[in-house]
Amino acid sequence: MAEEARAQFAARMKRFTDTVSLQQPDRVPVIPWNFHFFPAKQSGMSSADAMVDHGRFYAALKDQVLKYEFDMAPACSVYPGPPWEILGLKNWKWPGHGLADDRIFQFVEREIMTAEEYDSFLADPDGFTARVVFPRTTSLLEPLGMLPPLHWYLSFPYLLGPFLGMPAFASMLDGLVKVGQEWNRHAAASGACYAELEVLGYPKSYGSVAFTGFDTVSLWLRGNRGTMLDMYRQPDKLLAATEICSAMQTQLAIIQCQISGNPRVSLFVYRGAEGFMSDAQFERFFWPTLRAQVHAILEAGCVPMLFLEGDFTPRLKYIAELPRGQVPLHFDRVDRAQARQVLAGRNCFWGNIPVSIMEHGTQQQVEEDVRRLIELFAADCGLIVDSAGCITDDARAENVEAMVEAVHKYGVR
């Protein structure tokens, strides 16, 4: 049994690496990028429960992987609720915290860093994160806003006493201890699940997550509106922040790979999509740092996998510049004919089965779509089958089954 599982693991990895490196695999792989609440829904759990009852949720996740025999175990994007609650996250809403139990968590985008604060951030990203960003994004860490510069006391740390003696600091520490405990509780459930799946022959889709430089500034610091204004009002500062965030995210991506032992990086790409900016703006503000990230991750021996949310048709010409056979590209929406033309002999195509079909379509529609994808991409580009985005929470189980079956029907060499 163990030997068979090891062989399965090796076969699945080979299927993936053959596809990515543009060799012909024995069969087209079918790999959901990640899971949100689909496993919870399938097992009758509410979204609220899924964020708290980690053991039950990860058992449900494991069941789904085994049921469909995906070629990799999808990573998980269901976050643990208790640490969020203790931290008092201000820029998220989640079930039981601003949303009903059957809803999924949602990011509430805001301006966290003001237009005037670029210089402070650029001069000391870590200090700015601790003293400004964290107090603005969490209730628990508000006392950090009172933390004096540590270098004031490099000779006499005991002079931090007035800060350390504040009751607010003590209760923040109590909270942080609880965050750590909750983190460990979640990590134990998650780690055990993926370790077990690995023993059963399923590699995990990725072990590292990072954002692009521009998205980091836009999502987590300035907000979409802020970055759009900055493109005109202070482009140099926006570029400087984009560059520094890109470098920091790359470092984070590589470190996570080293810790997890999984070289695959999920590099989320959002605001480079069609509609957000012109080609000229993309060339100036988005692409140079994204391209640099891809190269740096490759140089570190890791695999940058781009998760392209939105319509990336207008950016295919840039994507074509990426190193050949090393950068799998997960598409949400894209003109398939143009993608095929651009990607043939370059990099493999992943995803793109419309969510609407997965949620509301028939099994025949899913089968037909998988067949079309295989015809278009499998021979010349390499193809990994998945829904656009991910297998969404409301995807119909029979349609997921149809997706997998179609791969076995049409995708075997």
Partner: protein, 264 residues
């Protein structure tokens, strides 16, 4: 006080910096915040000369120049109503360029910002508020359970620039609120936006609520958002779908003309 790296403060006082934007950080941005207040209060040219210079600077997204010209014109005694009329013309050009794929989201954000600043300048000089003639009313909102407003704000912006009076219900709008607003406004068109996958379910619930309220035959329903396509349109029972702002404008134009109210 802000922590200034490299700069020493003599006294070891707390460097609490969060308060500055505390309110901003804990309060969701109001509907329309992405574009800024873009409603145009004026519709007709009011005596005085049209400023080509202002229109060009504004529509060319030269923010400082446009605001400077507006300030100078007002200082020279120009009619503020004429100035706002020029702004409206500039906004139309911005809309046209967006439609042509020449402008994108940053230009819409900036034009909203230019308009806000010029409107502020004219405010003390205006003795009365004018309500423009509109082509039709449209009730618009992001559906229940979804709190995304980026796409919605762009569509609302483009509809307003194209002469529609949009009643923007904001985000996370329950079906009964759509029904209530449609009744109050007697609007012939409703637009629903949604980014999340779950939005389709809320859209269907809203269309069902319109049926139950007996409004479905009097209202045309358009839907749009990241994952919306014909399959979703059919599932929800909407009349049409789109995935960009100009499709929303085209639909509104077509439906308004079919009702026999071209150009209000």
């Amino acid at each position: 006080m802000l922590f200034r790296p490299g700069g020493f403060d003599p006294a070891p006082v707390p460097c609490y910096t969060a308060a500055a934007t505390e309110e901003a950080a804990s309060t969701p941005e109001p509907a329309g915040a992405v574009m800024g207040p873009c409603e145009l209060k004026l519709s007709s040219t009011k005596g005085g000369a049209v400023s080509k210079e202002l229109i060009e600077a504004f529509s060319g997204i030269r923010e400082e120049e446009a605001v400077r010209i507006a300030r100078d014109l007002l200082a020279q005694g120009s009619d503020p109503l004429q100035l706002l009329d020029d702004c409206r013309q500039a906004m139309r050009i911005v809309g046209d360029r967006f439609e042509a794929g020449e402008y994108y989201m940053p230009e819409l954000v900036l034009s909203g910002e230019i308009l806000r600043q010029i409107s502020e300048l004219t405010k003390p000089l205006l003795s009365q508020e004018y309500s423009p003639r509109r082509r039709a009313r449209i009730v618009f909102g992001t559906v229940e359970g979804d709190i995304h407003d980026l796409a919605k704000d762009i569509v609302v912006f483009m509809l307003e620039v194209n002469g529609y009076e949009v009643i923007d219900l904001g985000i996370d709008v329950p079906p009964e609120r759509f029904v209530e607003a449609l009744r109050e406004a007697q609007a012939p068109i409703v637009g629903m936006s949604g980014f999340l996958h779950l939005a389709s379910v809320s859209m269907k619930r809203t269309v069902d609520a319109l049926k139950e309220a007996g409004l479905r035959d009097q209202v045309r329903v358009m839907i749009g958002g990241g994952q919306i396509d014909e399959v979703i349109r059919e599932y929800t029972g909407a009349d049409a779908w789109g995935n960009n702002a100009m499709q929303a404008v085209s639909l509104a134009n077509r439906w308004t003309e079919e009702r026999g109210h071209p150009n209000g």
